[in-house]
Amino acid sequence: MIDQLLASVTDGMLVGVVYGLAAMGLTLIFGVMNVINLAHGPIMALGMFTVYLAYTSLGLNPFLGLLLAAGLGLILGVIIYWGAVHRVIDAPHLSSLLSTFSVNMIIIGIGTAIFSTSFRNVDYSLGIVTIGPITVPGTRFTSALLALGITGLLYLFLYRTRPGKYVRAVSDNRTSAGLMGIASNRVLALSFGLGTMLAALAGGLIAMALPFTILSGGSYELKSFVIVVLGGLGNPIGALLGGVILGLIEGLVPVFTKITWVPVIEFVLFVLILLVRPQGLFGAKQ
């Protein structure tokens, strides 16, 4: 029993940081421009397919394929920003929800036409990693480390580089940023691109662990919402911690009861947090 618990905790945490990475993308965009990106899930799915196609058609190592997924996510995000978000950025929330939802439908429509909705998986192994009594798949272990590494890089970018500080400044006070000569629109486009890049990266990492279809993004998008609410809207580190909590729930619940209870518990938690602590467990953006 104790071994099984330990294994579930480890597994949950490893998956959780990858969930956290995806949620970070959602929360970054919300934190900077108050837009909830409903195209988050399909972009994760595109990240999955990028890694899959690079591996199966080009024979590219999936971890290198992640670089392609990141590039695609970034470029796509900038395009989506200018095409669908820029015009409604100061409109009421419903406008940006509808417009990003349209992008969601477009990607899913085209994706279904090209890839159908059959399951794919990236059949790639890095062997087994053994830490004391616990053994985990090597890809899962590496993915979690990568997710942590990417989080670290995101923070270095936001706190140590000039463009990163522009992102924080625009997020803090867009009007003032303009007065100081910061081209806010470009910074917003970059921020949106970074958010979708994180989504695509998380998708690519998930593709190495689990089978997926072009529609799989949807369920991960829902998880991202739960995580973002857990961690506090607009708080990237909160998203990472929220991801770990969600991963732990997914790891531990099946030890005690049927796995079908997982989403029930997740969404009850979601509603409870909204009722009791709407700023999230780790505080929202000020």
Binding site: T175, S176, A177, L179, M180, G181, I182, K285, Q286
Partner: protein, 236 residues
Amino acid sequence: MALLEVRDVTSGYGELQILWGASLTVERGQLTALVGSNGVGKTTLLRTIVGQIKPWQGKVFFNGQDVSKLPSYKKAEMGIVMVPEGRQLFTGMTVQENLEMGATPKRARAKAAQNLEKVFTIFPRLKERATQKSGTMSGGEQQMLAVARGIMAEPEILMIDELSLGLAPVLTLDLFQSLRRLRNEGLTIMLVEQNVRMALKVSDYAFVLREGKNEIHGPSKEVEQNASVQAAYLGI
């Protein structure tokens, strides 16, 4: 040629017209005041000059160039810099980072180190607080930082909206004296103030705005002596 010229500008928000043909000129090296009561359109005029809102009619010239339609970040790049009402700091960022963000225009980037030294000399308090989050400072310190951030942008003209708002009189006096010093070092400043008395004391030239139009303008000493200004704003 005047550094800044506003010619017959009308402007407002949506359907609401605020400015009904405002004009003014700012000469290089001078401290010009724009005064008037609450709600006459002083802030709207400033926002139109910096490009946060576009003039409906009329034009804004800077160094003889028509800049009426440019967005604010391009104007900042040219040297038209505003310290907005209510300070509008990057409250989640440190004092140092706020100043860094001030030095965004290319022309300011090259002189960032020099300007940082300058603002720390004028406002030594900011140096002590360099690593503190700006939102946690007192109102006076925040106003110092807002002005300092503006100076970091290496402005050709620094426009300050309601410097005295919400500050203790002693602090306000200090800040006005700092502005006077900056003007003596050659900086062109335009000051928008509700505190008419103080603004007229510290400035070289003044415009009085009433109901979205210019009412009177002239050297501040003369405006101060004007009977209608005395009656309306100075309580004499």
